[in-house]
Symmetry: C2
Subunit: 139 residues, 2 copies
DNA sequence: CCCAAATTGATATAAAATACCAGTATGGCT
DNA sequence: AGCCATACTGGTATTTTATATCAATTTGGG
């Protein structure tokens, strides 16, 4: 998912693709997600941006609402936001040290998606597969 | 996963299945997860337990470390813990109101598990499939 | 029974998320 | 272009959540 697709998605949902929001999007794409709101805010500030901390939080919430990112827990108390490329995201996470690696293979079937949509009356927009284990150095 | 299995797992990992910890496990099984640490603490206190708040937090962390529960994001700032029955957990979550429903069907293939284990040198112990969408009442 | 190590739980502290609000930018309208 | 209603911003204050500390207690091995 690139910047202009995200911009379009914001508009489609009735939100303005303001300069501040697009700066957050740029930072997200640059660092490829997997960061807390404060991490992202600091990176942006260090990079010369003067978008406020609250705007970073709110923009991430907004992006979560429209399916661009998803908050997950990554070892600390703070939510880590991952990018949902084409609606999905898959990673392995170490249960000890929280090291995380992403992978592309997807075993989520369209038929399961259909079945769940029918059964629970959800409009399905994406998914995340999170696999737990113990990494090499923690074994 | 039942109480005695969890007890065994604690022992196997070198932790003591103390009375306080088992009270937390009981509460988890009773309320079937999907709660924050403070939620669980309050339920326990209301039920007459005098296990301390810190012990609830620490026990949940411990259970996460050995793969019994997993923290996820559940709409508020606090981590919600889900039970990993037989190592896995699957649910649908509404991107707007965070309503969550669980389902049993699993499309995670053993061969993918093998492949990832080899590729990233992880010992794989479980997974969570989280599907995002918009629930009926939010559509 | 005795001791070292693990665990507990209260309190203190830090970190993270949210509420609030006055000011600013935006887009639709005339 | 100028006006207005509304969306958005960003600072600060507050609340909520998580972690660090530490003395007291419990536990299991010798
Ligand atoms: Zn690790
Ligand atoms: Zn997928
Ligand atoms: Zn909903
Ligand atoms: Zn599964």
């Amino acid at each position: 998912m690139n910047k202009s697709q995200i911009k379009t998605k914001l508009t489609q949902h009735g939100h303005r693709p303001t300069a501040s929001r697009l700066e957050v999007v740029d930072a997200l794409l640059t660092y490829h997600g997997h960061m807390t709101a404060d991490d992202l805010f600091e990176k942006m500030r260090d990079g010369g941006s003067n978008v406020g901390r609250m705007t970073v939080f709110r923009t991430l919430d907004l992006l979560a609402e429209i399916g661009v990112v998803r908050p997950t827990y990554g070892g600390s108390g703070a939510a880590h936001f991952v990018l949902l490329e084409d609606g999905h995201h898959h990673h392995l996470v170490c249960m000890r040290c929280s090291t995380t690696v992403e992978f592309a293979e997807c075993s989520f079937a369209d038929e399961l998606s259909q079945q769940l949509a029918n059964q629970f009356k959800f409009r399905i927009e994406g998914h995340m597969l999170e696999i737990y284990g113990v990494c090499e150095s923690c074994q």
